[in-house]
Amino acid sequence: MPDEGSFFQRDRSWHPPAFTPQYKTSVLRSPRYPLLSLDNTISEITGPRFGHSRIGPLDNDLIRNYAKAGDPIGQRIVVHGRVLDENARPVAGTLLEFWQANAGGRYRHKKEAYVAALDPNFGGCGRTVTDEEGRYWFRTVKPGAYPWPNGVNDWRPAHIHFSVFGHAFAQRLITQMYFEGDPMIWQCPIVSTITDRSAIEQLVAALDRNATLPMDALAYKFDIVLRGRRSTPFESRPEGN
């Protein structure tokens, strides 16, 4: 009986805490009071759903969805995987949105200050909807590492940002995908806001030779896990308080 009960409590020790001084911007943007526990109500166990009909044919191809005169520069890659819940059930029909820097580590954004070149054929955003088995797939170029203002010489490892809806607003999640074998993962103040090493490793995509597009693109596999639900129907729970 999926999609019936309330969600398992979020493991806040697995997620980064709000206040992480090594990531300086978090210092003034972190609540100081404890979060107030809210038993799921209908407002949290429902959520918006976006159908395949909304998705354009190039939305999951960052190599083509912005290009005007030829392909973007960079290592062509496929990113694929599944969206599952904590019960290991596929999350079907959920919208994934992703954004990233170009192969040189430069974002197409007016506040970006890195000197690396913009790529006229790369926008840096894409989206897709998972299929019945929770699978997704998109094509892009591998993003470069980039420097950012935090310490005087802090660099982000190559990464792709992911936004996932799930089926309920309580599952809403934004995270980042890193690349297998990148030593910079272990030097990053943002990665290290997560204190559990296995929680970080869960965000590192594996090189997947079986999913490559021969003579076209390398492949990385990145599974995403969203919160799971109890199997007991929500309505039958006795009222607390």
Binding site: H15, A18, N87, A170
Partner: protein, 208 residues
């Protein structure tokens, strides 16, 4: 040793970063031609029922500075208290109202603005009605995991007084941080809901 549990762990959150708009509101971020319209920009179809309202405000950091790079999503019931979601089991929500909106805070002023409708009341478990409210989810550079809060309507005094969620808040002095004030602008209702991440008047955030 004991047997391992089968449960997977939720993927850990990471900050949306300063360039969240590239992915979530690309047209607003001057990346045109990829999507026809930014998702969540329009919530209300002209045929939707209910009172049209504007919800606006700012998000302040611990120094009192408004965030100019944040992104807010809201989620709410329609005028009759139903959600436009396949998981809404109590009835069919108004098909002309999405219930979900997404807006950036302005890059110069820091203000956000949603054009929506006033939500109806939604039952808590056990059936007692909650006061009308809008769920907010806030992400930005420096926010490591999205912040959930709720906006309530200050002029709904009777409903607020019997809301089971508000009733559970131990520190009653903090309840006003969840209340939006109503005003009229050019003949339409505008609710102002400012969010304070830290410091005096810190908004109540929920672990949902």
């Amino acid at each position: 040793m004991v047997q391992k549990l089968d449960a997977l762990k939720e993927s850990a959150s990471q900050t949306a970063g300063p360039y969240v708009h590239i992915g979530l509101t690309p047209n607003w971020a001057d990346i045109g031609g990829v999507y026809s319209e930014d998702l969540g920009r329009t919530m209300v179809d002209p045929r939707a029922t209910g009172e049209r309202i504007v919800v606006k405000g700012s998000i302040f950091d611990g120094s009192g500075t408004p965030l100019k790079d944040a992104l807010i999503e809201i989620w709410q019931a329609d005028a009759s208290g139903l959600h436009n979601s396949p998981l809404e089991k109590r009835g069919e929500a108004d098909p002309h109202f999405t219930g979900w909106g997404r807006q950036p805070t302005d890059g110069v002023s820091g203000e956000y603005r949603f054009e929506t409708i006033k939500p109806g009341r939604v039952p808590h478990k056990g059936g007692r009605l909650m006061a009308p409210h809008i769920t907010f989810w806030i992400v930005a550079r420096g926010i490591n995991i999205g912040l959930h809060t709720r906006m309530y309507f200050a002029d709904e005094e009777a409903a607020n007084a019997e809301c089971p969620v508000l009733a559970r808040i131990e520190h009653k002095t903090r309840i006003p941080t969840l209340m939006a004030r109503r005003a009229e602008e050019n003949g339409s209702a505008v609710y102002t809901f400012d969010i304070r991440l830290q410091g005096e008047g810190e908004t109540i955030f929920f672990d949902v």
